[in-house]
């Protein structure tokens, strides 16, 4: 076997200056950023009262809790939990539908190819952004003040916070639509509404339907937590059982949530496939 000739370092250096002779700033950037990130991290640990003893005793406690969760057992309240789960699914479905219906006209106002004037679009966009900036749980608290405790407040909370998200997503879908079909409708004498209905909607609706289905799925998760502040559904039961330390019931409820979310996942991926067809895959 012949030996590989030793590389001529000097020649290599001369040939690839961008690898061997990088400027100091480029060479120092990575360590500096790492150091900074780590510095903030350790400051955070100190500021947020992390201590090894607390961590250890907490993990110890957590171990006990996990042991006590076994086996998951609903006790005698299984019918109650099933009803709560149904409530959660209803909240997700209704909230998402309401949000989608309300967001569709507003998203037209926020789309660049529909509304040309910046004067209208900019405030609409900022309005949607600020709605999105407030968490669903906060909306739930506000709605509880308005319509009282119960799942209806949850529906409205999901509807409002998704309204912001949908407005943005729909307007992006509309902006991504092909211009040619709209022009075709206009060429055959359609007015602005016709353009939207026959030129835009057939392109945009499948995308929107896919997004709505995805949100129903993710809202099943959100709907489980808004119960924690009193807006109905399975979260209410979960928070109560955690507060009274009924760990077997807690683990059963978590299991129920996991199974429900997996089921909704499965159904909505099937539906999405049926609506959008193979386009989503390829």
């Amino acid at each position: 076997m012949s030996r590989v000739p030793a590389p001529d370092r000097r020649e290599l250096r001369a040939r690839h200056p961008q690898i061997f002779d990088r400027p100091v700033s480029a060479r120092l950037a990575t360590p500096a950023v790492t150091l900074l990130a780590f510095g903030i991290f350790s400051f955070g640990l100190v500021d947020l009262d992390f201590s090894p003893t607390r961590l250890l005793s907490g993990v110890h406690q957590l171990g006990w809790i996990t042991l006590m969760m076994m086996p998951p057992d609903p006790g005698s309240s299984l019918p109650l939990y099933l009803k709560a789960l149904g409530e959660t699914l209803s909240i997700a479905l209704l909230g998402t539908t309401l949000a989608a219906i309300a967001a569709l006209p507003v998203s037209l106002l926020a789309a660049r190819n529909i509304v040309r004037s910046n004067l209208v679009r900019f405030p609409v966009r900022r309005f949607l952004d600020s709605i999105r900036g407030v968490d669903t749980l906060i909306w739930a608290l506000v709605w509880i003040n308005v319509v009282g405790l119960g799942p209806f407040a949850g529906v409205l909370a999901i509807a409002v916070s998704d309204f912001g998200a949908f407005g943005k997503l729909f307007s992006e879908a509309i902006e991504g639509a092909d211009r040619k079909q709209v022009e075709g409708v206009r060429a055959s004498g359609g007015n602005a509404l016709h353009e939207i209905r026959f030129g835009l909607m057939p392109q945009v609706l499948p995308v929107i339907a896919g997004q709505v289905l995805y949100f129903i799925e993710s809202n099943t998760r959100s709907a489980t937590i808004i119960g924690i502040v009193g807006a109905g559904g399975i979260g209410l039961q979960l928070a109560e059982q955690i507060r009274v330390l009924e760990w077997q019931k807690v683990s059963f409820l978590i299991l129920m949530i996991l199974i429900a979310v997996a089921a909704i996942d499965w159904i909505s991926s099937k539906l999405r496939f049926a609506i959008i067809g193979r386009r989503a895959v390829t």
Partner: protein, 294 residues
Amino acid sequence: MTAAVSILPSQQLAALNATYRKAVARKRLRLTLSAAIFFAALVIAGVGAEVNFRTFFTHFFNFISYFDRILTLENGARVWTDLGEWFWGFRKWLRFLGETILISYVGTLIGAVFAFAANFLAAENASPAPWLRFVVRRLLEFARTVPGIVFALIFVIAFGLGPMAGVLALAIHSTGALGKQFSEIVENADMKPVEGVRSTGAGWLSCMRFAVLPQVIAGYASYALLRFEINVREASVMGFVGAGGIGQELIVAIRKFYYSDVSAILVMIVLTVFCIDIGTGWLRGRLFGEEART
């Protein structure tokens, strides 16, 4: 200009029309059916969620007036007429907001580190063993599906009240979410460099370090920044269950009807989220810019 439109013979036309009508009728039937099923589901859901339009309409005015009330100071003036009075607790709230951001930063970083450790094991093309991949994937799925605030509720009991529970809850949730996204990036990575490194006799670890990591690191950073942004929102409500941050102040203000405080804190949260959005967006743009340049 006139052009002769050719019209097919009537027999042929009738056949074509019939087929067309049949196709359209089937499509319409399908649409009507699915619409009917959907509406039935909506009605059932409406009953299940105790939807009551009467309460909604009688109280809807409350919703509007709620915003009117939170924008009014105690002496009856509009909030923006007296900023000092509106933001009377500015210093305190700023400290809590800082805590919120710190919670999400530390939580995201811990989550990113764990996700980084787990994602090569979960990726289809990089995992050393199928059973390991299965186990890691199920674990990540569990961490992702259980909402962060449920973890926070449990951790508050285990670790005591305070930001530590919030950090750990966010860390677990971020591990699940980031682990999945990271492993998806790895699955999309080019496998030729891995072959190259393997052909020199390198082990699994070296393959990951020298062949996969350089391809995926920018994507990781981008997803981690996005997660940080989401976590800031999430951390703003962790205080609802006693896990630290601005949420504590907010829920007290809402529950005790300190109206102008509610709006002041909300304004501060929304502004912070805006700034974080813009900041991380800028950073991600720079990261992707760098990637595009090389």
